[in-house]
Subunit: 403 residues, 2 copies
């Protein structure tokens, strides 16, 4: 039942605490030499003991065969059908750097890049420092295009968020990032279904980019910007309001903070390590009903194709787990948003292993936390959008449907 | 995610080959003496070895408890929600004998039958030969009804396809086949929601059938025809276009060729045996991205209630399997469209065992190919309409959804 209003109508009050620990890209594929995935290879005594006293299963972020980006995958974990509530990349970037978006705002993801003799030679401008990025954003702030306000803010390294503000802007326009080197930056074009608003928007975007090329002309290596993922803020009812929750997010990367904010969570202060994140959980324990902890590096090392490093990341999380258990959450879920098998060096469609510990769940024969062991879990293979109802039920926060 | 347009938007290019081998009616029920199904009874060393290196599971063509016909079951396997994209029996018959249908065409399935003293004594007219069928169709071609063109073509034995052509025909009319002997052929009646068009259509159909009775009066045993499954061509976007595939079908029965054609596949020349079908696969290997191989006889022997003969059919397929493996498809799926347990002598709702071999899938503990062993497969029990996304993903042909 992925209808949020159906679920919202059943929501009741309880004094119980839920923790959702997402190890990004947790799921993997077997190493050809051992037949074991990253999670199955890692020494995880704490996760294994937890699995033994949990209900286990696997979740599809979207559906069989569909590889999700992190945005939709997290929307699903928070109880939103990820296709019905699609959030554009530009919006995620802008929210992630703390820009508030309104209905007249159009956001895009920006890469600083290097252009030589008219063609892109480096789509990331040698991964310039965040400080250089900030200085360049200051220079770009001087651009003044009639009829539109533009604000650009640095993310990390070569990435920035750009927001245009004007009435009637359309997100039905194309990227200017050709996604490969050796080509010129593309012009922003209106999409066929975007009508007059898209035509006007594309013209304004191109005027801005022409000015950006002038402003950055003397810089090196970052002498141009590429834009993609033009998007406006979608209407998303907040989970905090839908289910009467106080929710806190402990995430170190802007984009995950952004999704959390979008659904009504408060983003909590934390240091960069997983140990720091558990510190933040301890500090805030009394103030929230629902905690989302996002651990990024399992995904990063999977994307690198570094099987052993991903194994180490999983072990790092495992080592801190006892501190979470000491807080004795009423509902504790450990899972991934999607799989990122080191063997594929990228996101994949394979379902994510999941454990859910609560006093109100069934048990199963699962005695270790892994992709294969979770197959015999009592939760089966299910859709990630159904996780939130399961958590709320176990937290004593969902009423009966019907009499 | 069974929305074809969602999936189509994610489709990308790759040079990879997929093979879908459908053993019609593959799934079964346990023999009371052994507790093993047809597939579990068969000696299948090749399928078992393949299962051991595949991801296994079971699929529901439509859903628990729903017994599908072959048409909807195959639509699901090709990625079309079988209820949303319903194809009438008449259309399948007509396409199966090579009749092209347009918007003014109304197609029906025909049985030659025997009528004595006004009641049907044999619904299949003693299964007349296909040659006799063709001769009778020639006789029926002389029928001339004002305001409508009619064309009838032989299928196999007592079956034929009948297509009426006139503007504004309706498919909201009833069958004239009462589905049992001892009754008179029924009159074609308009359905209540069919309006004036259905009334006019029923009158034309009845006029045709009255003339058919006159034309066939001196024949024996085939002295009348029964019609059912009146249907018009639905609008079905072709899978070849949706996903950018070149797809070839290797099927020996008209109806499966028809469904394949309907979704954009090219029907490839093949002899009647499974060995011939694998020959056809080898001959065409370089020219297509996706092959659908349909093996009919597992279903036929299941319908006959002949457990041992169905076992032999499965063994016949198993023996040819190494030749398919030698072609080294990137994705190989072996499954059924639905179950046809010999114990039930007909189609059933039980999910079909499935194996999927690809370099990009997880492994599981399944070491033999059977209904019970596949229960512990890593694909779980899923909906047949999700098979195509899974195949495309494994073939490297689906982009990520969202960022």
């Amino acid at each position: 039942m992925s209808d949020i209003h159906f679920l919202s109508d059943l929501a009741g009050k309880a004094s119980s605490r839920m923790v959702l620990l997402v190890m990004d890209g947790l799921g993997g594929l077997p190493h050809p030499e051992t037949g074991m995935t990253e999670l199955e290879t890692a020494r995880t005594p704490n996760l294994d003991a937890l699995a033994a006293e949990s209900a286990c299963g696997l979740i599809h972020a979207i559906g069989p065969g569909i590889t999700p980006g992190s945005g939709p995958a997290h929307m699903a974990l928070f109880g939103y059908h990820p296709v019905r509530f699609e959030v554009g990349r530009g919006v995620l970037s802008a929210l992630g750097v703390g820009m508030d978006l309104g209905p007249d705002d159009l956001a895009a993801r920006v890469n600083f890049c290097t252009v030589e003799d008219g063609v892109i030679t480096d789509r990331r401008a040698g991964r310039i420092s965040t400080e250089t990025n900030a200085r360049l954003c200051d220079k770009l702030a001087s651009i003044d295009i009639e009829g539109i306000k533009a604000e650009i803010r640095p993310e990390k390294e070569h990435r920035a968020a750009l927001v245009f503000n004007a009435p009637g802007l359309s997100d039905r326009v194309t990227d200017t990032d050709p996604q490969k080197t050796g080509l010129a930056p593309l012009r922003c074009e209106p999409l066929p279904d975007g009508g007059e608003a898209a035509e006007r928007t594309a013209a304004l975007v191109n005027a801005y980019l022409d000015r950006a090329a002038e402003v950055l002309a003397d810089e090196h290596p970052a002498n141009m910007i590429l834009t993609r993922g033009f998007a406006k803020l979608p209407h998303i009812p907040k989970m905090t309001e839908l289910y009467g929750l106080r929710a806190g997010a402990i995430a170190t990367y802007p984009m995950y903070q952004a999704v959390a904010k979008l659904v009504g969570m408060e983003v909590l202060e934390t240091g960069p390590s997983f140990k720091d994140q558990v510190d933040a959980l301890e500090r805030n324990w009394g103030d929230f009903d629902y905690f989302f902890i996002h651990y990024k590096y399992t995904d990063s090392r999977g994307e690198d194709g570094d099987f052993a490093a991903k194994v180490s990341c999983i072990e790092e999380v495992d080592a801190e787990l006892p501190r979470i258990l000491e807080l004795d959450p009423d509902v504790l879920v450990v899972t991934g948003d999607h799989s990122t098998p080191a063997m594929l060096k990228g996101h994949s469609w394979h379902p994510s292993p999941l454990l859910l510990r609560s006093r109100r769940e069934r048990r199963d024969g699962v005695r270790s936390f892994g992709e294969t062991s979770c197959l015999s879990g009592c939760l089966g293979i299910f859709s990630a959008v159904d996780l939130l109802p399961l958590m709320l039920a176990n937290a004593g926060r969902l009423e009966k449907f019907g009499a």
